[in-house]
Amino acid sequence: MMMRRQTGLLALLLLVCWLPAQAIITGELIMVRSDKTFPEAMLILQDAIKTQGYTLSRVQRVDIGLTMSGYPTDKYRIVFFGKTEQIHELTKKHPELIPYLPLKIAIFAEADETLLVTSDPAIFMDLYPDPRLHEVFHQWHEDIVNIMKKVQIPD
């Protein structure tokens, strides 16, 4: 009995040590820095979005628009994604969410590295107090953290 408890404590300690390695920045913004170049990070991001079960709907090439208008700048894209059924259902039941859909992540170059940033969907809990939506926001948060983590530390 005593041995089992001690083994359990040891297992708990190991678990506590492992858990932070799975964490990612949480707060109002979710941001990560990838040591990959922009094209590499972009590929990993798109793959991670699909792996997480989302559809990639579009990539907005902000840098192209800026450059064509006479404002040359480094690589800067916005990646839009979502789940088709969820978008249809949410926009029907909660039109107040529409301006924030589809979900998106800004990805841009910083020298040889790449930065990614998006708002933490958890902030929507304050913006939209309807408790039925909170499960959705929580899931988005989890999914986006997973996606960003894959770009930060690719498998």
Binding site: R5, L10, I24, S69, P95, A106, V117
Partner: protein
């Protein structure tokens, strides 16, 4: 019950097991919380280059601890209120592991010199980088937002987070020796003596006020919604006309579910109108490149239950996410622009 003294071998095993994971924890916490701005090896970016030897020689653990705890209100660096004390210590240990420098310890003795004389010296020698009243350089420090020949954005010395973290003795040391590998010169380059330096410290300290934790949250709704008396298609045309009238270029209009379903199945009652003013966009990105996550400018028109509505995000509400005073101005301007377009389109 678990009695460590009765099972020393097991206790030792637990202790030894925890050591490497605490070290790893500091690196992991740094990666998750700090690397985005300060770089994986502390080379800097949005944040200052923490890995500089001269920085580590001048920044005490107490300064780092307080900085992580209170942040820099309005200057990007957030407050890490979620981190426990031992996690902050783990991050500091990781930062210290980059360079084998002596860890400074500054006492908290205040320097009571002549702030008015310090002001004159500040305006003569410091204002060109640190700005009037120590408000700091512009931009986030990211390459998008600063001249690329500058390694860092000059810090805001009047920031209450900075003043609550740095002791007078630390300020004195920085002014005296400067900071190598940054544009910060040593006082000797300006022939400043110890009295001058003390006066400067007193002037910088005079910026300090009672610190209010966090920034006041505005009671702004998350979205701006206007009901339109016009038909769905008329409202879309009105939006486009109003946006062009406000010097925006129309990018495109598309169904909300564009890219999710085949074109023939796209929604006919939810249309997004995208538009952009590239000059404004360029300026906004220069202020804070992270703002791109709310780009491009967009107003969505929907028809539901026989009612037509036009809606957008509320930039005023979202600006609160960034902890960037400079960005607040741009977001206020964008809020007013959205309001004007929405009003014109639905009048």
């Amino acid at each position: 019950m678990f009695y460590p003294h009765r099972k020393p071998a097991l206790f030792l095993l637990l202790f030894l097991t925890s050591l490497p994971c605490l070290a790893d924890k500091g690196e992991q916490l740094y990666t998750d919380n700090c690397a985005i701005c300060h770089g994986h090896e502390g080379t800097g970016g949005v944040g200052i280059p923490l890995g500089l030897e001269s920085f580590l020689e001048q920044a005490s653990d107490e300064y780092l601890r307080r900085t992580i705890r209170v942040g820099r209100p309005g200057r990007i660096m957030p407050t890490f209120y979620r981190l426990a004390d031992h996690e902050i210590d783990a991050i500091i240990s990781h930062i210290r592991s980059w360079k084998k420098t002596a860890i400074p310890k500054w006492d908290n003795t205040r320097i009571n010199a002549e702030a008015s004389t310090g002001k004159q010296l500040f305006e003569k020698h410091c204002v060109s980088c640190h700005g009037e009243n120590g408000r700091g350089g512009k931009g986030t420090g990211m390459m998008f937002s600063r001249p690329r020949d500058l390694p860092i954005t000059p810090p805001a010395l009047n920031n209450q987070g900075f003043l609550n973290s740095a002791s007078d003795q630390m300020l004195k040391n920085i002014i005296t020796h400067g900071r190598k590998e940054t544009p910060m010169p040593a006082a000797s380059e300006f022939n400043l003596n110890e009295t001058d330096i003390n006066n400067l410290v007193s002037y910088i300290r005079s910026f300090q006020k009672t610190m209010v934790s966090g920034r006041p949250m505005l009671e702004e709704p998350p979205v701006m919604v206007y009901t339109s008396p016009y038909s769905f298609s008329e409202t879309i045309e009105n939006i486009k006309r109003a946006a062009v009238g406000m010097n925006f270029r129309l990018i495109r209009d598309q169904a909300l579910d564009y890219g999710f379903v085949p074109e023939e199945q796209e929604s006919k009652t939810h249309t997004m109108v995208y538009f952009c003013n590239f000059n404004f966009l360029y300026q906004a990105l220069a202020v804070d490149p992270r703002v791109g996550m709310f780009l491009p400018c967009r107003i969505t028109v929907i028809e539901q239950n026989g009612q037509v509505q036009a809606m957008s995000i509320n930039p005023k509400r979202l600006s609160q996410l960034f902890n960037n005073n400079e960005l607040d101005e741009a977001c206020d301007k964008m809020h007013d622009t959205y309001s004007t377009i929405l009003e014109e389109a639905t009048l």
